[in-house]
């Protein structure tokens, strides 16, 4: 809470003994002051709000209206919900939707599992934890495009490390072009995305683990609980709030995945790895169907919103061990 809020209250309370009239006068003064404070506050927020409203608010509205128009000719034609309906018939959107959802689920589960594993190790107060955190920051800092380039090179059919190592080990007998095969291409995108998301998830979980009071574990140990039992009874419930945040971050991240697909697979083979956001990009900027592209983009936002509300409802229960 803000300092002024507290201090003004204090002011009023301290004057209580000096009679009601004085208090009323004070209150009036405080209200006047707080009005000028509000103007002051708005002045300070004005630049940020102006930029955000101008660049995000207004265009969102514009794009939303646009999604009800047909933009092929010079003059836009109002067609109502047709773009939203056409979305489900013209493009192979159903494949895109289900592959996006599959992508989101696989990335989320694997990221959480790996991140939890790393966070538990980081939380053990081993020597060199700081070094490990520093190393973990590297994949976070690599630009997504470069991340894509990196994986594309490693999985390159003839000269990439992955194929050559597999052949050297005798697992593979001839070179395979992974990005030209549907499921391997999908998995490449999954791993590249996990690589990028893992550090943040691990940091959040580590921070969350640090907030768990140690005496809870001691009490459980005295009660004869096994380490695994302690993990499920204490650790998991108490890191739930951090989990919700990671779920939300990952959902937004996976549903908006673009850079990595653009670099590694270009949506191919066919449209197999064209996730929703990439589909929206292709519809808008390759096929120049602005209205339809906007409709898909809003559909993505709608899905993200639903998922966030779902996570919030399903997992956000306050856990107390008093």
């Amino acid at each position: 809470m803000g300092g002024l809020y507290k201090s003004s209250h204090y002011y009023i309370n301290s004057n209580k003994t000096k009679g009601v009239r004085k208090v009323k006068a004070r209150k009036k003064k405080v209200r006047k002051l707080s009005l000028s404070r509000n103007i002051f506050a708005f002045n300070m927020m004005a630049p940020a709000i102006l930029v955000i409203a101008g660049v995000m608010g207004f265009p969102t509205l514009y794009a939303f209206i646009m999604s009800f128009f047909k933009w092929s000719g010079k003059t836009p034609q109002f067609i109502g919900f047709e773009n939203y309906l056409k979305m489900f018939t013209v493009t192979d959107i159903f494949h895109s939707i289900w592959i996006t959802i599959l992508f989101a689920i696989v990335v989320t589960i694997l990221t959480i599992v790996f991140a939890l594993f790393i966070a538990l190790l980081l939380n053990m107060e081993l020597k060199g934890t700081n070094l490990a955190i520093a190393l973990l920051l590297i994949p976070w800092a690599i630009p997504p495009v470069v991340n894509g380039v990196m994986w594309k090179w490693i999985l390159d059919a003839r000269f990439g490390t992955f194929n050559n190592v597999l052949i050297s080990l005798g697992i593979l007998h001839n070179f395979r072009i992974w990005i030209k095969e549907p499921w391997p291409a999908f998995l490449i995108i999954v791993f590249a995305t996990i690589y990028k998301m893992l550090p943040l998830a691990a940091f959040l979980l580590t921070a969350s683990l640090k907030t768990i009071p140690k005496d809870l574990y001691e009490a459980a140990e005295v009660d004869g609980m096994s380490p695994l039992g302690r993990f499920f009874a204490i650790t998991l419930p108490l890191i739930r709030p951090a989990m919700v945040i990671i779920f939300i971050l990952l959902s937004v991240g996976t549903f908006k995945a673009f850079d990595i697909i653009f670099v590694i697979t270009n949506g191919g083979p066919g449209n197999f790895t064209a996730l929703l956001n990439y589909m929206s990009y292709m519809t808008t900027f390759r096929d120049m169907k602005f209205g339809l592209g906007a409709a898909i983009a809003f559909f993505i936002s709608f899905l993200i919103l639903i998922i966030c509300i779902f996570y919030y409802r399903a997992t956000y229960r306050e856990v107390r061990y008093d």
Partner: protein, 290 residues
């Protein structure tokens, strides 16, 4: 005896955990290491790099000049690489300054006053991260073309600023909240005006938070791909876009692309490692308290 055995078991576990931690870090770094090593290979070497002559370490290192041939080629005769690098640098640094200043200004009242609708404003900022980027880039593209801002650095800076501000404000507010009220009140009693109190008391104390926001803003705007891809074409092209289009073009020498990739990692990885503690704290404050 039992105690000794227990201790030995515990020690064994500890060694196992050390092993697990460091092998996890090693696995995480392998792709990056491969990229860095491959970026030093010549085209000739890359095309020989095929089973059974396969190798990871570049082994045609004769002179130092040859070693950096890819990098030199990128920064000298391929002028586009250099130009886009400078564009990226300009965009990232200007955006960082604007975002930091605006976020500072906006976070102060959100943290320090009993402004009505404060929580509403914060929530609107949160929802801004769910706005469909692809959809808003279409009207922005049309508008910027009309205004003659298409393919300029300014267009990218404006959009990036708006894009990064909500999260920055959240992080900054969380840091401002950690400065005790009493210090500011003391300054006000001593006759400071509010702006003075902000500059003389809050900002110096919240400096780590401001640093965290600045580093984030730089790293994010340096890495941004989609916004410049749509709002620029040639003059204002940025480095990530150059790499992204470079790698998908025909007949490209992959080692040069990798060299470009390594170059683009240098500033951000250096920043991330230099401000390690700040960044980790900032990530956590921004996401958990926000």
């Amino acid at each position: 005896m039992a105690g000794l055995l227990f201790r030995r078991k515990k020690r064994l576990f500890r060694i196992l955990f050390y092993f697990l931690l460091y092998s996890a870090m090693f696995v995480i770094l392998i792709p990056f290491i491969i990229m860095v090593l491959s970026s030093f290979m010549s085209a000739h070497e890359i095309y020989l790099n095929n089973y059974p002559n396969f190798h990871i370490f570049p082994n045609e290192w004769n002179t130092l000049g040859e070693l950096f041939a890819n990098y030199r080629g990128l920064l000298t005769y391929k002028e586009r690489g250099m130009a886009t690098f400078i564009n990226s640098l300009k965009i990232a640094s200007i955006t960082t300054i604007i975002v930091t200043v605006f976020a500072c200004l906006a976070a102060y009242p959100l943290s320090r006053t009993n402004l009505k609708g404060r929580n509403t404003i914060l929530f609107i900022f949160l929802f801004a991260s769910m706005v469909p980027t692809m959809a808003i880039l279409i009207p922005l593209y049309l508008q910027f073309t009309k205004m003659g801002l298409y393919d300029t650095i300014l267009a990218v800076i404006i959009v990036l600023t708006a894009y990064l501000l909500p999260f920055s404000i959240w992080v900054m507010k969380a840091f401002f909240d950690t400065v005790p009220d009493s210090l500011e009140e003391a300054a006000l009693i001593d006759g400071c005006t509010r702006p003075e109190a902000l500059i003389k008391v809050i900002i110096p104390l919240a400096l780590p938070g401001i640093g965290a926001v600045a580093v984030f803003a730089f790293i994010s705007s340096w890495a941004e791909f989609l916004i410049p891809l749509i709002l620029t074409r040639t003059d204002a092209q940025v480095f990530t876009m150059y790499i992204g289009l470079f790698v998908n073009s025909e007949n490209v020498e992959i080692s040069k692309v990798l060299a470009a990739g390594v170059i683009s990692c240098i500033p951000v990885v250096a920043l991330a490692l230099g401000f390690q503690k700040l960044i980790v704290r900032g990530l956590i404050e921004g996401a958990v308290k926000g």
